[in-house]
Symmetry: C3
Subunit: 668 residues, 3 copies
């Protein structure tokens, strides 16, 4: 697509009465140019086994063609019809909680042959129906696919086969996972016990990795089917989602996004975030940066909230701020879940752009202004190319390992990731994400490594090499502790990296009344407080930036930096406050020559930028606050696109509550 | 009965040694004239299948006749004997948690033919035994009957039949419940999925309604059996109980009290309430008002606490205050659970009038004074006729719907009901309860409607008509949102009522730092705080009494009033503090000409009144406080019945801690 | 053994590489003279059904002989191999939660014939292998054995047989348990319902007692097998553990330690306790006093933490303080769990003496000083004979009964035990524990009885007799309330003891704004606050030390004392603050002539003492504080053994943070 998509999910199937033309008319008035359909409507498309009925789909496609709307068609497979569960109960996943009971979505065994058989048939029938419509611009495979904790006998049987292929002998496996402990040793494959009961974190984590592989395999299988039908100009995407904490939060534990995205032509994502006084833009930026990094390019925002949950109803201006924030991360679309608000079932209070009454409301009226701006500015805003100098390395393996060996105080892997990410965000440092599979470490001036708890030596060696080559590494506690089988490395910690970091430890504890020492950082005592974890680090070449302030632990280092090869490595051995973290990062950024004009300003004024197709630098200035403020324009001269007015360096700009400015700076 | 009953539950079956005559002697000394027996003693009455043994029952009946005590006989069916569960495991209800395990009471499938067969047999045997005793004044069917979440295959089979009868076709049902959502659509009855797994709130709520119908059917079935035996002078009752929050709290979700009471000759109830410094009389009044409204007349208080839980042990004076409070609501009996304290099993700490030692204790000694007063004053206190001018409309459908679509902050339907009821209570405004089946709306000057979230159009129309005819309606947020199938009405909210209320909305959110605005009500800022829910109401004819005080929502109305037809309608679009609610209600009451002498006084001095058989006005003055106070007597002249002294208007009365006064005012 | 054992658990089976000689060398350097092996390594010893492999065991034994280390061999039965669960799924216990799933340790049905068959075989094979090694000094039966809530059909079948033997007829049982309640009456053994569902606390408690008997039986069975092999100089022990609250806390509910220890030659125990700023020594003393009292003599500390959980990493000095604290309780060994830190599985963060890197660390270095001191001082410190004048009577029956009839506010039986114990500890009053089976009540000057909720009359009579004979009894609320079947005694409370105590009650409640009255004790109002429970006690001869300060309950007694026979009885009818409890106990101790030199000093300076083999009095002075302090030496002159310096009465000693002094005072 060569323009911005502004869209909604639309389900004729759920309408209390026929509103198709009226709805599309209202969409057009709001500048909405795309709808997303069909996902999870299997029971409407195949109400009884073998009886297909695409009335709703075709009605909508015909209307879309008439009204000039684009359509993204989703395969309907992420919720199964009642008849299928009745006919083949084995399509319901057996999990740790036992066999499933029909009702909710996403409760299938995605490896069940019965499920795959019927899913393939309905996908093919749907593709045959939709392939004739020119309005269809692309396909979404399933939706928010995960493995749904499937762990029934046949899945476990495949898992044992996978282990056999991986290890060859049970002896090798026993040693790799340490199964001797508490008599868990397995000496014949046929005696492999039900993995759901294991208390061995290595084995449990390996099983979760295997489950994530099932997701990759399932999406590839769907992609192959769709591939047989799609036109070259049609894209294939998936709607990835994130670890959930009442809103999109962190790395998805049940999917390896990197692997799963290999079968797509463009990555898609949904991002839901707190709103009202809790709107910060962090989740919009985080989710966008993550998904953009998957395929190193623009992505589709397939779902986000319009009104959303009752507590998310946007204040005036927030819907606009959110929409442009997505573009600022590299999205080529903004699409709402969904058009109207549902009158039945469990998403009745996940409100759409329209309320249950279908009347124009304040949120819809604000959307109209977005639609108009998108249409007008699309050529300059679409396909934003972003180039970050900083990257954060994340890992499904580390996340899962830390589920089985959790930090104290309820701190998860994703909390550590967000602790770092959010600090960068507030400092206006844009970043990409790296995965263990990423190849281009060297293109970044700085790599941050949050709690890389489980990592193969090969990955640790690449990090070491990265610093040696001149990169700046910022690593935190828990990095390099275990190998990829979650076996603790039995030598100096952090394994393999301690020379690079210039620091090592063999003991650790939980901070209580413990603080960062010293005057290195200008912080109050409260800001120097530590929590969750502390390694008793002993310098081995590194310069100590802060020691522990504590009667017993005062001789150990808390934060260090080390010149190594052509680069430098910073180590943070304990969890600090956000203020302390930002002080540490500032020092590192300055050293890496990354302290620039954007860093003169900080949250709630956020800068995000990229290069548009015309080579202009597009700078988004996003104001995440309900209070008006004056902001000096520190960038070069340019044109503010929404107002059309010129902006000069040094000029005072007035930022209204939840304001957004978009400045185009000519290519030099 | 033509006199007050003062009684206890008595179980010879549970006694550690033979105390029958001694116990009855102690009862007589305390003025106790009634015992309640036999309920839940099935395993004693039929220790083995087909072997009946009514030794205990007959012993007690003979002794009661000798001592001149009345007896209420309960059918023993609410706890099944071990042999029945062994012989027919299917008598145990299958619920969401799977098959049951024998042990607790109230775990039966009340539709199981095996259960019904054996239950009928033991009821008939019992009736044959007891019908010859003149001391038996009435029967209690089962006890606190509910559906026990029964949801096994045969119950679900009946449910599908019920749906088929109701909807005719699956298409109609799919539309009514919105089953298309997430592929839940059912296209053939035989593929109807296990309802326990549904994520469709409409279907789930319909199933709960169906389960409540099973209770009505079961009680009618028992009533029909008992009817074959009972003398004309014997009553038939049931011991209804309430939603439980550590004590009796609100509308019972598992029984439709209105429907279930159709088979009775008099309604019965149990009421348990906090005590000591937490004794307010609210539950006594609430439960009494609810059960009195079922059959529009006096009722039996079949159970309440004597000593109760350890934390409920009454302070001196409280047992008296409680007893007269029950009469003030229209009870014709006060009966304790139970005579002694149990020496085994799970109610060991649900203490009776006597402790485990059977010796007279302080509570028993206070009961003696109550017994004496009851006997002496019975002619003037029995059969109190109450006539409220205000009513609260409650609905099982609304309650259940809000279970599936809950308010934020853990606020339940019953919390909203109690928020209104408790405000009225503290203002000394007495009320009845209306149910959707009630016919006589017009007899009330004011009807309050808490969160009538699910309601058929017919009911909403009656409320509209009520105002049109001159009534005063006070409705709260969430009223009229869905139909009786929990499908959100797809036009302006509140559906059908918005013209009457003169206000409408299509958006809503959760208040955060939001307050009632303005000077209409004399309230501190803290008292104007809002919580839980707020609808962004737009006046459509109504006068706005308070707007929202909030940066984003200031243009929406929070509280309105609207003259409509001959009446007036007040709308409360958000949850206020009790203080604010009372200010709003005061305004409405004054407008409805309901601000009278009782409202000059407020909690902890409570007035409750009625007309006795002699036509006297009986005014109860109940003092719910541990601190002595002076209270001017504002009513007409009368005689204080407990002391026998005259009371004159304007006279200062001294209210001792937890005091009660009962003033008879001659008919004019 | 004639010397102190200093040891570690050692598992060659879990090592990531061969370190045997290096490890033993490091042990020797640290003064470690004992290792504990083989426990829970069944799957290594018998990797497949019938294929035995004791390579690891023999390797270690050979090396131990070479390095001169003692070895304690544990039977491997507390974790079953996967093949056994696959071959005989019935070895997994069926519990309230249903059938088990393989994975964790301690999930067996210890009565399963299949389990017993295979367990016996592997034990015998192991014994045959190890009996030839002279380094083996003793055997540990299983580990932390419990009944694992086993409650499957065959266990229940045995339970019914046990009931039949105990009661003869169902009628007797029905009466004993009060099964008539809610129709639970059983009239034929074959209809006995699944006990897992019972709501009858008497029956449930009896089943738990039966389950504890299974543990006793199981250990006896293992002891009998081991007995066939062991040399006379080899001991047999078990590793008992305690009720767990994140650390060792109280009486073990799932084992009757008294009965279970009958089959041993020496008692063993593990004690885990909070550390760092939360180290108080209470658990070390409590656990030691409990296990020492079982067999009235020295015991083996088989496991305690070295580094332990991350939050337990000891401050400098703490490991020493802990080690000597164990000796001060009468331990003849200090052994760590375990040597190194595990690299896989769920105890990866239960850290050993070494970290995962096997390098000497600060904790190991401190252990070296302990090892050296142990070796040097062993002759004077081993076999410490302790003689307490005070005892606390604890009871599994009371504990279990209070599980089913819990106190409010989450207070458990063990909380009451610890409330008393910890007060004594802080006052430097050493004590033994008595069990209902103990015979020598009269040897103590004072017996404290915490909440003896369920007790046979015989035990209550012995307590009465104890006071009559001149003892001082301190009993708390809830004592003597029920018989051993958890049936409430139906006469005056405390049953049978009220004459001895000179006080009785029949009502009780929960204190709210209630305080101890009066000036008897020098306490602030805050210190006089009451919580959890209060009995409305009426003096019947006793002197009231404190009344309740409360508007309604002021006439009842809270604390009393009563001269009875030649003795005195103190009753505490409510739960006081620790300060108030200590004031009450001080009065009782003074009266009993137990206020001595140790009581001049209190926590954090702790004195513990005994007589060594040479007849010297050994006084441990344990300083549980991170702050240095001066302490006057009040005992007689002696020699401080660690420093070798003389100490004189009246001398000022400097106690460093977490310091320990051991003074030997010559026999007079």
């Amino acid at each position: 697509m060569d323009h911005l998509l502004y869209g909604v999910a639309y389900y004729d199937e759920y309408m209390p009465y026929n509103r198709l033309d009226e709805d599309m008319q209202m969409m057009k008035e709001a500048g909405i140019n795309t709808i997303r359909i069909a996902e999870s409507t299997w029971s409407s498309e195949e109400p009884e086994e073998g009886r297909f009925d695409f009335t709703h789909v075709e009605r909508v496609l015909r209307a879309a063609e008439k009204h000039g709307l684009h359509v993204i068609v989703g395969t309907p497979t992420y919720a199964v019809p009642p008849w299928l569960a009745k006919l083949h109960p084995e399509v319901l996943a057996i999990t740790k909680d036992g066999p499933g009971i029909y009702g909710a979505r996403q409760i299938m065994d995605i490896t069940s042959p019965a499920y795959l058989f019927y899913a393939e048939r309905v996908i093919r029938k749907l593709m045959e129906v939709v392939q004739q419509y020119s309005c269809v611009i692309g396909f979404q495979l399933d939706n928010e696919t995960k493995h749904y904790d499937t762990a029934g006998p046949s899945v476990q049987n495949r898992f044992v086969r996978y282990l056999r292929d991986k290890f060859g002998t049970t002896q090798t496996m026993n040693r790799a996972f340490g199964l001797n402990y508490w008599s868990n040793r397995v000496d014949s494959w046929e005696n492999f016990p039900d993995v759901r009961g294991t208390i061995n974190g290595s084995l449990a984590a390996e099983f979760e990795k295997f489950q994530r592989m099932l997701v990759t395999e399932f999406l590839q299988w769907q992609a192959d089917i769709v591939e047989e039908y799609r036109r070259e100009d049609q894209f294939v995407t998936q709607n990835f989602d994130f670890d959930w904490k009442g809103h999109s939060y962190g790395v998805q534990p049940r999917v390896d996004h990197w692997e799963a995205s290999r079968c797509l032509t463009i990555a898609g994502v949904d991002i839901y975030h707190p709103s009202q006084s809790h709107l910060t833009g962090k989740e919009i930026a985080f989710g966008g940066d993550m998904v953009r990094s998957l395929m190193n390019g623009n992505y589709l925002l397939l779902e986000t909230e319009a009104q959303g949950f009752p507590q998310w109803l946007p204040y005036p201006g927030q819907l606009r701020l959110q929409a442009f924030s997505h573009l600022a991360s590299g999205a080529d679309s903004v699409m709402y879940w969904h058009w109207h608000s549902l009158h039945n079932a469990c998403e009745t209070y996940w409100k759409g752009l329209l309320s249950h009454d279908f009347l124009p409301n304040e949120t819809y009226l604000e959307a109209k202004t977005i639609g108009a701006d998108f249409r007008r500015l699309s050529p300059r805003l679409v396909h934003l190319q972003k180039e970050a100098k900083v990257a954060i390395l994340v890992s499904n393996e580390a996340l899962t390992a830390m589920k089985y060996f959790p930090l104290p105080e309820g701190i998860s892997y994703n909390d550590v990731v967000r602790w770092l990410y959010d600090a960068l965000y507030e400092m206006n440092v844009e970043c990409d994400f790296l995965y263990p599979q990423s190849e281009d470490f060297d293109k970044y001036q700085m790599i941050l490594v949050p709690a890389l708890y489980a990592a193969p030596e090969e990955l640790l060696e690449r990090l070491d090499q990265y610093v040696e080559n001149g990169g700046h590494l910022v690593a935190t506690f828990k990095t390099g502790f275990c190998n990829e089988m979650v076996k603790v490395y039995h030598d100096r910690q952090p394994h393999l990296l301690w020379e690079c970091l210039g620091v090592s430890y063999s003991q650790f504890t939980v901070p209580e009344d413990t603080y960062l020492s010293g005057d290195t950082f200008p912080l109050s005592r409260e800001e120097r407080a530590l929590s969750c974890w502390m390694e008793l680090a002993i310098p081995a070449g590194a310069r100590v930036l802060a020691w522990y302030e504590h009667p017993a632990w005062g001789k150990y280092a808390a934060v260090t930096e080390h010149v190594y090869g052509k680069g430098m490595a910073t180590y943070i051995a304990s969890m600090t406050t956000p203020q302390a973290l930002k002080a540490i990062l500032r020092r590192a950024l300055e050293h890496a020559d990354l302290w620039d004009v954007e860093q003169q300003v900080s949250f709630p004024v956020i800068f995000r930028q990229g290069i548009n197709q015309a080579g202009e630098k597009i700078v988004y200035c996003l104001h995440y606050s309900g209070e008006e403020r004056q902001q000096t324009w520190l960038h070069e001269d340019g044109v503010e696109l929404l107002s059309g007015k010129a902006v000069h360096q040094g000029e005072q700009l007035t930022l209204k509550p939840w304001d957004v400015k978009i400045v185009a700076i000519p290519a030099k």
